[in-house]
């Protein structure tokens, strides 16, 4: 009957967590993501890099005896006893479709695709929920002020998990706004690095085609061998 009496042989200290309301006993050292898998969930949508970079595993939770709603990336956060959680692997938020070449790095570009930015109440709920500790409200405000360079800089660490958007009383999709600001900044305020131009030219000249053909011609075992024996030393320079 008791669902939680699993893995009795496991000597590791455990904690009790509640995944979408149902109790699970899990080793206390696990991350939320591993704990969910330990409890038998097969995560398809809410996992990606498992290293805190892709933003696919946004999770909201409360702790025992604490009224606050917390948010985190499931792959980066350890479970705690009494945690009540659910994953939010996808956030429905309007996403502007634009041709970056036709825009200008100004507030009007931002407002054209995300007019709700003007509704920002400066409550800062977005910054409080951000698992990357970004000052989300500040970059939203910089966007509104046409300070696109600052907006791009402040939003730089965004992993697009979208948790800010679910907390916003003004219903702003902050993470999409930050992306547009960074694209505008990259396109119009910064110069194209020379190394990038060189690399694009190399690609266009077919410099790497032979290497790719060689890899594509390998068998699965051949690929495995190449992968395990790989090193990162530039053979030409070595």
């Amino acid at each position: 009957m008791s669902k939680t009496e699993t893995k009795k042989e496991n000597a590791l200290p455990t904690v009790k967590i509640y995944i979408m309301g149902s109790a699970h006993e899990v080793p206390e050292s696990l991350t939320i993501m591993k704990a969910m898998e330990y409890a038998g969930f097969k995560i398809k949508r809410g996992a990606g890099c498992r290293a805190g970079f892709c933003g696919a595993c946004g999770t909201v939770y409360r702790k025992a005896g604490d009224y606050r709603l917390y948010a985190a990336l499931a792959c980066q956060t350890q479970v705690e006893d009494g945690m009540v959680l659910t994953q939010l692997p996808f956030i429905p938020a309007p996403k502007g479709i634009y041709d970056i070449d036709t825009l200008q790095p100004t507030e009007s570009s931002i407002l054209r695709y995300y007019p709700e930015v003007a509704r920002c109440l400066s409550c800062n709920a977005c910054s409080k929920v951000c698992p990357q500790d970004i000052q989300v409200m500040d970059f939203v405000q910089y966007s509104l002020q046409g300070q696109i360079d600052k907006a791009a800089e402040v939003s730089f660490d965004c992993v697009q998990c979208g948790l800010c958007a679910i907390r916003c009383p003004a219903e702003i999709p902050q993470y999409h706004v930050g992306m547009l600001a960074r694209r505008l900044h990259g396109k119009y305020n910064t110069s194209t690095p020379e190394t990038l131009l060189e690399r694009v030219e190399e690609i266009e000249n077919g410099t790497f085609e032979q290497g790719f053909e060689e890899l594509l011609s390998l068998s699965k075992d051949g690929l495995k061998k190449r992968y395990t024996e790989r090193d990162f030393v530039d053979q030409k320079k070595a």
Binding site: T106, E107, A118, R119, C120, L121, S122, C123, N124, S127, K128, Q135, M137, D138, Q141, L144, Q145, G146, Q147, P169
Partner: protein, 305 residues
């Protein structure tokens, strides 16, 4: 150098760059340097100002708190946050008064600001830059810095609504203001009084009822030009936008209509104090003031060519 914590507001970074750049330049010249708050948010004027909607008061109170923190990093800074935009000035003053009169409202707002360590203690005064010029610098101090009196410029002050209303936000007498008048005279320009100095510019109707704005603007400009004005001086980016942009449209429609350029008061100061013309951003004006200024010999008559 006395440094003031300066709150720009969004327009100063977008539609009114010439206002901001000239203000900062003259503030340094007058020893009352405007130093921008590093991370500021909207003053809150775009939200409804209904007094029972406390959530919409978070933005202005956050501005006051951030300014307070900023002041701690400045030199000889009085406990004042300085604005250039009349609307920011009005919003911040109204809310500042409201929370100082109503502890309960402030407590509720502070509860939202606690986590950011930005609770507000009612310890900041909101000032418009015109008040600093009048009360801290003085017109004489301004006159002393004039190197190029604005001879030939016949300027009519236009206050709009926000500088003089409501009671808790006004910077001067609502019926007989004289701050812009005295400033204009201290710069060596000719003062032209107009009875429509605070006739509404049409304000936010520009968004969807442009005809209301154009009829207001026509009267405002006509009242000034009839009395001989060849320029208007303003302090509000929205008034400026409405009058400037509508004049251009009207000039296009009727050949008889003669538009006149709009200046922010700080642009006139910068011109009179010999600051570089570039910081005025005249190219962004709908009615370019440069032809008039050239005609009067106030710019572009350098003999160094």
């Amino acid at each position: 150098m006395v440094q003031y914590s300066y709150f720009p507001g969004c327009n100063l970074k977008t539609n009114a760059k010439g206002f901001e750049e000239t203000a900062i330049a003259v503030s340094k010249k007058l020893n009352v340097e405007l130093v921008e708050i590093p991370n500021w948010n909207c003053c809150g004027t775009v939200h409804t100002m209904t007094s029972d909607n406390i959530m919409k008061r978070i933005a202005p109170v956050r501005v006051l708190s951030r300014s307070k923190k900023h002041i701690e990093t400045l030199e000889e800074s009085p406990n004042q946050v300085v604005t250039l935009c009349s609307m920011c000035n009005s919003t911040l003053k109204i809310v500042s008064k409201e929370v100082s009169d109503n502890q309960d409202t402030l407590d509720k707002i502070n509860y939202q600001l606690e986590d950011d360590e930005l609770t507000y203690e009612n310890d900041i005064e909101v000032k418009h830059f015109l008040e600093i010029l009048r009360d801290s610098v003085g017109y004489e101090g301004i006159s002393k810095k004039v190197v190029k009196p604005l001879k030939g410029l016949k300027v009519s002050p236009y206050y709009g609504c926000m500088l003089l209303h409501p009671e808790e936000a006004k910077i001067d007498d609502e019926e007989m203001p004289d701050v812009l008048e005295s400033l204009v005279e201290s710069l060596g320009a000719e003062l032209v009084m107009s009875p429509l100095f605070k006739y509404c510019c049409g304000s936010y109707h520009i968004v969807d009822q442009e005809n209301i704005v154009s009829s207001q603007v026509e009267k405002i400009v006509e009242a000034a030009t009839r009395r001989g004005a060849n320029a208007l001086v303003v302090a509000c980016p929205l008034c400026s936008y409405n009058i400037d942009q509508q004049q251009k449209a009207m000039a296009k429609e009727s050949a008889g209509f003669k538009p006149i350029p709009i200046f922010y008061f700080t642009q006139l100061m910068a011109l009179a104090m010999g600051e570089p013309v570039k910081i005025n951003h005249f190219k962004e004006h709908f009615i370019n003031p440069e032809p008039l200024l050239k005609e009067l010999g106030l710019i572009g008559r350098k003999k160094t060519k």
